[in-house]
Every structure is written in structure tokens, then in C-alpha cells.
Symmetry: C2
Subunit: 589 residues, 2 copies
């Protein structure tokens, strides 16, 4: 490498700045527009460089864990890369839970960990740890370019590292990437640094990788034949199961539906699949989407009648455990556009590489001539309609609980807005009680690893990305992310917190009734939410019934906290009674 | 391995319980008495096993990050191993920042991560990530014993794994250990499991490893001679520098002081060294401890006069940056009782393996005949006394700020109680303004990696370990650990929060005055602390001056929040004026 030193490089602060500017040149060229930073000294050169780029929107967030979940929300809503920046030491370790979620769902986070110079590692120097591979296997790539260097070829290399990281975080699969950035002191330039001309690539490189919009090659691990076009999917009763993250846009959702219509196959739509809530052709005779499968499969006869011969699985594992158990041992073809291998029941017999847009044509090529039985989707539709009627009756007769709350909430959300649903009980109840909507709504959830963590911060990030997004959280999720309260200035819509006295999912599990069940499993901890909201300037309303909730929803669509008191035992009895009714009612006539 | 299956092993829930019981048998035999658990389903077998052992005290804490810092506080105060338990997925990742601190300071944390069965990894199964080596190089050991097995030899192996982990977390160096524990469902026994006879080791193995209380072998990386006893430390002006964690008890502190007295060497005591605050022989003519080195070394003449020929360094890197820079390029011998290599200025020329108790005899053997100059420690004492007099005058004349606050606080803490001092500005101001005390006080700080994270939770853990401990935090530290507010029921003493409008350490750094300095570096975020304390039942007082603070300290020694408003700019001017006065005053007459 040639040493093309300019005078400015004798000012270490200036060199640090240039180094950071080169990196940002590449990151911005690769699509970066948002940087979430937590305060610190060592990260100063990157902040100084970022301040000089008008394309970048900077958001300072004190708690790095909260910052990471906020970035996760931004990336989830925008599908654009989002960068995090923190100082050295334990600071970037707070990103870990959100990085793991981003890895499993597939979200483009760029993890910029400022560091002390490498020679200080393992010497007891202040705020110095070994930051190499800090996130283990949970990042696509890890880079440590070493200390800043002034020669042109090094600056060029760093620019291209930024570009590469930004692109690789998005294609062919989205995911986090760590770049560790050691800086020597001084961190601030001693004088004025000469103006910086952003480094451009030698050719007019596009800001994104270009993926040919055709089917990817299909691979068939179980088949030995070389001629892929001769491979056929089985005939008979097939099912398309769309888990979370199946479709990332209305366009993708439409394309998947077209594929299902073309093949005459019923489609099961998880609440986070992007296909649950609205589709133009929904309800017609040509096509069928099941939303009530979690309930209807609790009827033994129905479960047997609807059992498929084979399954096409898209996206991540579905929320419904009932569905997962029912599908165990059914031959499964996984549809994936990259590295994801989602097969918790170990039934995969083939991997079909296709994007949502290419799914229909890919499947048409793979299908044999024999269609599913003539009544195949009608069976599904009948069971779905019968379950829906049963659910409606139960809703009318039952006490007010999460079931009605969810329906009221979904009706209140205006077209094109979003809903973040927290894990554990809320997402399962949303799965059970969400009906189709005529208008699109985007439902978000951290379902990569399904933690109850970081929900408020994620919600703030979703809102900050531009989509007004409502929140539906349990009391434990809310209290797990108290730091998120510092971000509620970003919220544009109400947060609904179901306060039912702790982790009520355990009421439905075998742990219920164990010694000290309440103390060690349900763990109620909630402080008074009205008092908790006050110091953060968050308006609070407490409601106890349908009328109160409706009034709260009518009174405002601005950011506020709607605390909903639910009698958890009454709710449990209501749900158990509904499932028992499903079990004993003929749904498949 | 023989398969000695009993009928109970056909109940998976019972098998899971037995497996957990075997592990706990070993952990308890190895000294474990505290288990901090966060709610979750997959960890159920370990909770069930723990509930059956009366030796174990269980503490449930919702937020795993807060739980880990709480455990850190417990381990820090008690020097005993503390176990953490969490469910699978992103949950154990929240431990990461506290694990890194525990690794760098040396604290015995036992990280029990419940897991799904290994065959579910990388299949998209719910709440399933690859938990192997989740904490990278920051643990002493990682174990994954696999799925529970019923045969006697496997149960024996698991018992001994528990024993080994508990012991290895303590000896020869303290540090965290991860044990990953996959469990199949069902997690709860279907029926009664037969009574469990705790597994005992074949011999009466002691509960702790026994370390011979003699000097360990000394190693001299720079010396080629095989005869260690012929190696000598240099003559002349030596200095003993005691960083954080030098002494873990009064007994160890006394032993180190005896070593210094015997050799006629001055001793510099960091506020977290265990030697700063009180010693019986302190102030006499035989011995000298410097506490004002951070100030007095800002005088060029004094710094030159006191410059040592060589240094013995104990513990971690000192808080004082002034000291660190002054010691750069001075030949250094590191005293260590294990793996620690604390030498941020890269000046180590020898490693002396000794415990505090063996230090004096080890050093006596290594010393040559020539003593330091006759006036060596007198020079130090004169400078120290002159600085002290100067500081006293400044304190009298100056405005009320952290300087007086720290002295008032240290006077208020009863003998034998503790103080947790947060990082960033508070610990540096404690370093500058803490004088000797006649009565012992234990000063704690997370100085392994010096994060501003987890301070409230650590404070709760310190109190829960039995030592009533006060807290001194900045407003940013306080807000970084809002989850810690859920643990304030454990507090026994006041928390003092210095509210000066954000990260004021940056006011002293070159970042001061940068564009948008306040927004991206100082980052004031504090909500109203009175309102914030209310929902957690924490009594709040706000004070603005010495009288108010004294009244607050007099009014209660129970848990409460004392918010101290400090004019940060006035404080900065006061500190700059003091250092300027030091620089121009003859301290070394």
C-alpha cells in the first residue's frame, strides 16, 4: 500500500475523523440513512463524521439496550439498514438481545462498536474489553479494520468496507453486521481539518445489489436426480403455511396469494405473516385463507379431516403451538430466499429457493398434473366459517376480556397504520381473535426469538420510521423495558397495556399450581402505571370494560397509555370454555 | 456408562427435576447459596429443584439484565458464588454486560441458561438460539452437558459438574462460568417423583479448594536465570500502587500495608483498592499512604520529585488518569494471584505471583539490601500534607459542590457499612475528595470495565448480601438502569443522585464545545426524579446545598432517594481552580 500522507494526518483527531468519514461514505452509499447513538467518548470521531452528512438522521439514546431495540423497530418498519454506535467496554454488549432478534428475523443492523486501540486489550486498560466477535454467530460478518491510517488505499478500503457491510446487511438475506472501530486519542481534531471530498467508487456502483427477479435454483436435498425440472411436488392435499415474515409488503402478499389460488391450495396465515388481515381476493370462492386454525384444530374430527398430505412452509415458525404439533410428521417443503431453515418439527424434505414474487411460477413448474381433491379448500372454508360462528357466539355471551379488546383495537386502527403486538400471551390471543380486515394493517412482532424484551423501545423505533404504530403489551413486557419510557416522545399512537397481574401465559401451562407459582413463574411486579407514566409525560387512562376501552379509543389516537384491567381467571375460564366448545362442536359438516 | 434406569425416568418432568437436583447438589457443595432467577417456562426444572433445597435463597427478578447486575452486587459484597437462571432465547443475552464486568473484576457468577433440546437449534423453533459459548471469552469455562439422562453415572457426572463449576468460579481466580441446560418437555413432573437423596462425593471433599497459604512461585518473563531466589527487585525509589480490588478484606489490607512498611515504600491507594479509607497504622511515621496523588501530580515539580524508579502494581487499573500517565515508562512489577495482567502502559517487566497475605514475605525475599533513600517516604508525606491543606482551604472558600458532598457523605456512613460509587464523574470526584476515615467503610464500584450500566441493580444486590450500602450515582447512571427501580425494596440505605443535567464528565474532555455537544455527548435525559420515585414507593428529597444535604442525611439512614442539584458549571470552575492552585503551589518543600 502506498503511503500518501497529507499534512492533516499528523493530527490524530483529524485522522480519526477522516477514517470515520470514509466508512460513512460507504455506508451511506449502501443505503444507510439512520444512526442511533449512545453517549460516550470513544465514539466521538464517528459522531463528528455523521454530523457532517446531511443524509443521516441521528438519534441519541442513553441506554444501549433500548437504543438497539429502537434500531430494530426502525429496521423492521423501513426494511432499510440502521446503524448503532456505542463507546467501548460493556456498552455494545447491551445490544446483544436485539442483535439476536435481528439475526433470527433477518433485520439489517450495522453495529459500530467504538474501541480502544488493540494494544490495550487484555492489559486492564479502562473500559477496554476484547470486542472482536462480540456477538458470536449472530452476525453475518465481523470486521475489525484496525487503527486509522491516512494513506489513500486504506481510506479507500474503509469506504468499501462500509459499502460492503451496508449491502451485505440487506442481501441476499438481511441480518446484523459488526464493525469494530479502534481509535487512538485525541478523539477530537486539534484544529480545522481540511474539507473532505466524499470518496466515490471507481465505477457508478448502484446503491443496492441487484437481484434478478426470477426463480432461484431449487435444491432438493432428498433427490438424487440432476434434472431439477423433472422433480415434482406431490399430488393431493397440500397446504401453504405462512409463518411470520412471509411477506414484507402488500405486493409480496398478493404474489403469494396468487400462487395459492393458482394451485387451489388453502393458505394458513400467521398474524405476523403479512397475509392475515386483508387481501382483495379474500372471501371469494377462488381462494381461501384460514385465520382460525389454532382454534379449529382443537376439534379432533376436524383436525383429522383437514390433515394435509404435504405442506409448503414460508417464513418463520407460526405462533400457534397447536398448528405446530398438528403438522409434525407431515412432509414439508421449505420456501426460502436465502439461508433460513425453518423446520422445528424436522419434517423438511425439500428446499425451494424462491422469493414471494417468484413463488407462483416456481411452484407451477414443480407441480404435477394432479390437483388437490375438489372439496379440499371447501372443507377448510366450512370449518373456518363454523369456527368463526362459534367464536362470534362466545364473544357475544362471554365476559369482556382480551378477545373483545383485540377486535375493538383492530377496528380502531386506521388503514395503513401499524400494531406492535408483544410476545407471550398477547400475540397468542391476537392469533386467536384477529378476524380479517377490509383495510390493510401492518402487524409487527419480535418473533425471531420471541422475547418479552425491548417492546417499548421497538415500538418507539417503529413509529420513528414513519408508520404510526399502536402497541399491545402485557404488564410484564411493559416493565421489562422501562428504559423505553425515555423514548415515548417518539410514539404517535396509544400503547395498550393489559394489566392482569403478571405472566398469565403460565396460567395455561403445566406450571400453574406449582408451589410458589405466583412468586417464581407469574411474577407480578407492576408498579402503578398511572404514576409510572407521569414523569415521562405520558397521558394515562385506566379502563375495565368494553365501554371504557371504546371511549378511550375514541377519545384520542395520539400517544398515550391505555391500561386495561383484565380479570385473568375469568379470561382463562372463557378461553378454556371456547376451546371445549370447539372440541365438541361439529365444525366440518 | 452403565444404564441404571429407575421407573421414575419414564416421566420426563421427573427426569428433568432429577437432573437439576444433581447439578444443584454439586453447586451447593461448592458453596452456592443464592440463586437469582428470571421468570420463564424452560427453566422450570431448575426452579423446582432449587425450591427443594433449604440452603438456597431464591430471588426472582423480571429483567435479566437487572438480575445479572443484582447477582454481581451479591457476589461483590459476599465474595461467594451466585447463580443466575433464565429461560431460553434472548433472555440470557441480557446478562452479557454484567458477565463482562464480572470477568474483568473477577466475580464468581454461575450462569445457568435453560435451553431447548439441541436438535431444535437452527430450525426456527420458538425461543431457540444457539446458546453455546453465548458469552464468548468472558467466562472461565463453558459447559453443555446435553439432555438429561437417567443413568447413575450421568447423574454423578452432572453433580460433579456443579461442584467443579462452583469451585472453578472461585479458585484460583474468580470469574463467571456458563452451564447451558437443555430440557425436553414436559417440564413439570406428571406425578410425584420419588424422594431424592442428595448425591455425595465418594470422599469427604471440602466445600472449597484449599490453597496453600504460602508464596506462589514467582515468574520473571525477562529473566533467563533458573534460580528464582537470586532474582532481586531494583534498589532505590520504589512505589506500591494499589488499584481497585487489591484487598478484599481488612485482613488483606493490613497484610499489604505490612509489606509496604517493611520495605519503607510509599503506597498509593485507589478509592476501590480496599486501602484508601482506614488503617490502624495510618498517619504514623512508619508508614505512608497517599490519597491525594491525582491532585498533587498536577504540580510539575512535585511530579518530578516523587517520580519512582520502579513500581509494584496490585489490582486493576487506578481510577486516576493523571497517575496512569505519570507512571508510563516506569519499570513495573505486577503482583497477581492468578491470570490477571494489568498493565495498560505496557511497562511490566516482571510478574510476581503472590496473595496479599504472602506479599510481604515474598517481597522481602526478592529485595536487595539497598533501601530507598532516607527521605523517600517523607517527600511523599510532605506533598500529601501540603495538598491536603490546599484542598481544605479550597473546600472552605469554594461553592458547595460534589467535593463537600462527598466528605459529608463519607462522614455520615456508619462504620462497617458500604458505599457504591458509580462510574464516570462520581468515582473520579470520590478519588479527589475522599480523605482517610477512622472507621472502616467498604467502597464498591463496577470498575472491571467501568460502565455506567446496572448501578441501581448492583446496589440492590450489595444490600441484599447483608452489608447496608449507600449509593452515589450520577443522573445518567440512574436513568440507564431504570429496571433497577423494581429492586429498591432490597435497599437499606439512601441513594444519592447527583443531578447536574447529563454526562458532565464530557465538560472536562475535549468534546466540550463541539457542535450539538449537549445533544450527542452530555445527553441530559432525566425525568423528574420525585415523580419517578413515587410509583416504586421510594421516598424522595431534593436538596441544593450543604445544609439541605446534611439535613437529609440526618433525617434518615433508611432507603430513600436524595436528589442533589449541583450547578455543573460552578463545580467545573471550582475544580479547574483547585488544579491550577495545585500546579502553582510549592507542595514539595
Amino acid at each position: 500500500m502506498s503511503t500518501n500522507s497529507a499534512p492533516w494526518n499528523q493530527d490524530i483527531g483529524c485522522l480519526n475523523l477522516r477514517w470515520s468519514q470514509a466508512l460513512l461514505d460507504g455506508l451511506i452509499q449502501g443505503g444507510l440513512r439512520r444512526l442511533v447513538l449512545s453517549p460516550g467518548s470513544r465514539s466521538t470521531p464517528v459522531v463528528l463524521a455523521a454530523q457532517r452528512r446531511s443524509e443521516l438522521l441521528l438519534t441519541p439514546i442513553l441506554d444501549e439496550r433500548s437504543a438497539a431495540f429502537f434500531a430494530l423497530g426502525l429496521a423492521r418498519a423501513s426494511a432499510e439498514p440502521v446503524a448503532l454506535l456505542a463507546t467501548s467496554g460493556s456498552a455494545p454488549a447491551h445490544w446483544y438481545p436485539a442483535v439476536i432478534e435481528a439475526a433470527h428475523w433477518g433485520l439489517p443492523l450495522l453495529l459500530l462498536s467504538a474501541d480502544r486501540p488493540p494494544l490495550l486489550r487484555h492489559t486492564g486498560a479502562n473500559q477496554t474489553i476484547d470486542q472482536t466477535r462480540l456477538f458470536g454467530p449472530f452476525v453475518h460478518e465481523f470486521h475489525d479494520p484496525g487503527r486509522p491510517s491516512a494513506d489513500a488505499s486504506s481510506l479507500k478500503a474503509l469506504r468499501n468496507l462500509g459499502l460492503r457491510a451496508a449491502l451485505r446487511s440487506q442481501e441476499p438475506t438481511k441480518g446484523p453486521i459488526q464493525i469494530n472501530l479502534p481509535f487512538d486519542e485525541p478523539l477530537v481534531p486539534a484544529g480545522d481539518c481540511p474539507p473532505w471530498e466524499p470518496l466515490s467508487t471507481s465505477t457508478q456502483f448502484p446503491a443496492r445489489t441487484v437481484t434478478a427477479d426470477t426463480a432461484w435454483p431449487s435444491s432438493w436435498p432428498s433427490a438424487g436426480a440432476g434434472d431439477q425440472t423433472s422433480l415434482k411436488l406431490p399430488s393431493g392435499k397440500g397446504l401453504i403455511v405462512c409463518g411470520p415474515a412471509s411477506a414484507a409488503s402488500a405486493e409480496e402478499a398478493n404474489a403469494i396469494v396468487s400462487g395459492a389460488v393458482r394451485l387451489g391450495l388453502p393458505l394458513l396465515a400467521d398474524p405476523l405473516s403479512g397475509l392475515r388481515f386483508a387481501h382483495p381476493s379474500d372471501g371469494g370462492t377462488q381462494f381461501f385463507v384460514s385465520r382460525h386454525y389454532d382454534a379449529l384444530l382443537r376439534n379432533t374430527d376436524t383436525a383429522a379431516l383437514l390433515k394435509p398430505d404435504w405442506v409448503l412452509r414460508l417464513g418463520l415458525a407460526c405462533v400457534s403451538k397447536t398448528l405446530g404439533q398438528w403438522l409434525t410428521d407431515v412432509p414439508t417443503w421449505l420456501v426460502t430466499n436465502g439461508e433460513r431453515w425453518c423446520d422445528p418439527s424436522h419434517d423438511a424434505c425439500g428446499l425451494i429457493q424462491a422469493t414471494p414474487k417468484t413463488l407462483a411460477s416456481t411452484l407451477a413448474n414443480l407441480f404435477g398434473t394432479s390437483a388437490p381433491p375438489a372439496d379440499w379448500w371447501e372443507r377448510w372454508r366450512n370449518a373456518e366459517q363454523a369456527t368463526r360462528a362459534l367464536a362470534d357466539r362466545h364473544l357475544q355471551d362471554g365476559p369482556w376480556c382480551e378477545a373483545q379488546l383485540i377486535q375493538q383495537l383492530l377496528q380502531a386502527i386506521p388503514p395503513g397504520e401499524g400494531l406492535l403486538c408483544a410476545n407471550s400471551l398477547p400475540i397468542r390471543q391476537l392469533d386467536t381473535w384477529s378476524y380479517p380486515r377490509q383495510q390493510p394493517v401492518w402487524v409487527f412482532g419480535n418473533r425471531g426469538v420471541s422475547g418479552i424484551d425491548g417492546q417499548l423501545s421497538t415500538l418507539a423505533g417503529l413509529n420513528a420510521a414513519g408508520t404510526p404504530t399502536w402497541g399491545l403489551l402485557g404488564d410484564l413486557s411493559f416493565c421489562h423495558d422501562l428504559s423505553g419510557l425515555l423514548l415515548i416522545g417518539e410514539l404517535k399512537r396509544p400503547v395498550i397495556v393489559i394489566n392482569n397481574g403478571g405472566g398469565r401465559i403460565f396460567d395455561y401451562l403445566p406450571q400453574h399450581g406449582l408451589p410458589e407459582f405466583e412468586r417464581y413463574w407469574r411474577t407480578p411486579v407492576t408498579p402503578d402505571l398511572a404514576e409510572l407514566a407521569r414523569p415521562f409525560g405520558l397521558r394515562h387512562q385506566r379502563v375495565r370494560d368494553s365501554q371504557g376501552f371504546a371511549a378511550a379509543l375514541n377519545s384520542t389516537a395520539e400517544a398515550c397509555l391505555i391500561e386495561v384491567l383484565i380479570d385473568a381467571e375469568q379470561s382463562r375460564q372463557f378461553h378454556l370454555a371456547f376451546w371445549q366448545a370447539v372440541a365438541r362442536t361439529a365444525l366440518s359438516s
